[in-house]
Amino acid sequence: MHLTGAQIVCESLMREGIEVMFGLPGGAILPLYQAMPEYPQLKHILVRHEQNAAHAADGYARASGKVGVCIATSGPGATNLVTGLATAMMDSIPVIAITGQVPRGAIGKDAFQETDITGITLPITKHNYLVMHTADLAGTIKEAFHIARTGRPGPVLIDIPRDVLTESADFVYPDNVTLKGYKPTMDGNGLQIKLAAKLIADAKRPLILAGHGVIIANAFDELRELAETAQVPVITTLLGISSFPEDHVLSMGMPGMHGMAYNNIAIDRSDLLIAVGMRFDDRVTGRLSTFAPHAKVIHIDVDPAEVGKSVHVTVPIVGDAKRVLHALANEVTPATRLEWLQEIDELRLEHPSDRLRESDKLLPQYVLKEISDVTNGNAIVVTGVGQHQMWAAQAYTFREPNSFITSGGLGTMGFEVPAAMGAQVARPDKTVWSIAGDGGFQMTMSELATIVEHQLPVKFALINNGYLGLVRQLQDLFEGGKRVSVEYSHNPDFVALAEAFGIRAFRVTEKGQMRGAILEAMAHEGPALIDFRVEPEENVYPHVPAGEGVTEMLEGPRPETEGAWKR
């Protein structure tokens, strides 16, 4: 088949099983858009801002387990993708970004809308390409998808000059990819797995730390089998949430900076950490020198560079979480650990950070608890970054595998709107709740228009406190209450705003109105938004001060810290 570059891109995307793409056209990428009508199977969702195309592709990928695709033109279109690609890179999300580039002859001449996007995205993509020949397009796209979705997944950018899209070449889509320098290890080393099983058998106080890798590898059953067989409690990192059912007796919730206090203490007492698909992020470990002082560490990860990067590892196992957990579950001896489980129960009673504090006011935590109850923990929850994200992680009971979508590594505010859009496109069968902060929401709310255009029934819970809440919390707790640039004193009327976009909207100012509004939003067929005017100065607890050991927690409000701002 002799095809234009643009046709080759579309044919290749179809062969990769792509059904939907998020993008925004411009001059350099125009030939690709002009070819799209020939391929109606490739649905294109026109966004309002390219950053949101990248986040939507990311949300789509997380919710579906498939590769997300976003498209932008050269120059500003391409640079607008940057935050989205960095977000996907930090959280290991398979995203393909296709960008237009100025014609080959103009490259390097500071042409109109020219930018070196492969140079710019070098550190925030798993790999990237500038395709200089139409004949190379098919092979490059095949390679890009292979790299994006295998091993530790990640974003791959393909930059295509305009004239490469318009020129023609023979189209043959390759069956295989051969990359000399890229062969991810999938099966764990058998001997290491035996060693790990031995450590687990000998351990008195073992804990599993389950991360995002469990979800990416679809290893829910295998994790559960290991935990149940060896009777090891499961702590889930922020991105590991929903890798293990939170109503399970062995489920412990989140560790770290805003994790459950009893988890941080349990880690401190533990003699064996079984880390799966997690990377000992600084929000999990706090000060490294005091982290888990008594524990040996089994570290299972598909990325060898993560093993030994932050903590000393006793038994490293490089491989796919699903395969390694399966092998390990078969190798471990069934055990009962009454003493350890009892000790943890006591810790939970002594440090009840999972208990919501009582108040007559509309506390933000209550909103998350209520959504959890109404949806029975079966919705897909997408969040932004900040206090509302932590409350979602703490107060919502996740029962469904892979149902929590959040920007963990990069911590990208505004993620909640476009990522929820992408998640809803991926999972039309599910209720998608976007838990938004009033700060982040205003960064990306232009996509409400796209959501209405495509009749995506996303439900928005705006946790509206009029502050950049987590920053205010830092200033109140650790800066002597000196508040600088954290208050939005003239937020828009979010109900009127949502209605202007054509979205059904409600306002909730009291505790008693919560359930009714949530039920009504869910009963509404289309998208809906609830403006929850929550208690504005509520803080997230526990809180480990940055740089401290994780047992140095502020477990709850203290008079001297809470009142600090009031002078």
Binding site: T118, P123, L130, K180, G181, A305, K309
Partner: protein, 186 residues
């Protein structure tokens, strides 16, 4: 804590545009300290060999190796610090020389098995290869004459004996006979 030392790392990389930027960018953003880097074609078509000198302990070298492997274009990485190897740098140096002291300079050049590659009325250009120490000591001796310009390459290194520098040979026709040892200069 282990002492910080120089490690010589040899990497086989795909000969693609941007590969040097990928590698050097990685060093920069991860805060690895590279004192020395050289790159050139290898015996295999489309593959280049890079040699770099990394400052750090074993932990740093392990991270450098693992992070390099994450780059798709990097095929093999070997720490050859502990291996018996031949390591060389090439330097060109322009020295002030006149009829009176030129023969003195030529004697030094002979001792160091260097070459004079250009002679002008009041300068000579000397080409010297060897390890860092050898080149440094020649420079020290030439300094009193007046060094006008110096140009040095990075270190390139190859493991002695039949073993391959970049791990197992990737093609059968790699000529892996044992090279004679020519290292015998001060």
């Amino acid at each position: 804590m282990e002492a910080v030392t120089d490690h010589t790392i040899s990497a086989l990389v795909e000969d693609k545009p941007g590969v040097l930027a990928r590698v050097s960018g990685l060093f920069r953003r991860r805060g690895f300290n590279i004192s020395n880097l050289s790159v050139g074609h290898s015996e295999v078509p489309n593959l280049s060999r890079m040699t770099f000198v990394v400052q750090g302990d074993e932990f740093v070298v392990e991270q450098v190796t693992k992070q390099l492997y994450k780059l798709i274009d990097v095929v093999r990485v070997n720490d050859i610090t502990g291996d018996a190897k031949v390591a060389r740098e090439l330097a060109l140096v322009k020295v002030k020389a006149n009829a009176d002291n030129r023969s003195e300079i030529m004697q030094l050049v002979d001792i160091f098995r260097a070459n004079i590659v250009d002679v002008a009325a009041d300068t000579v250009v000397i080409e010297v290869t060897g390890d860092e120490d050898k080149i440094d000591s020649l420079f020290r001796l030439l300094k009193p004459f007046g060094i006008k310009e110096v140009m040095r390459t990075g270190r390139i290194a190859m493991v002695r004996g039949p073993a391959s520098t970049g791990g197992k040979p990737l093609t059968a026709n790699v000529d892996d006979h044992n090279a004679p040892d020519v290292e015998s200069v001060p």
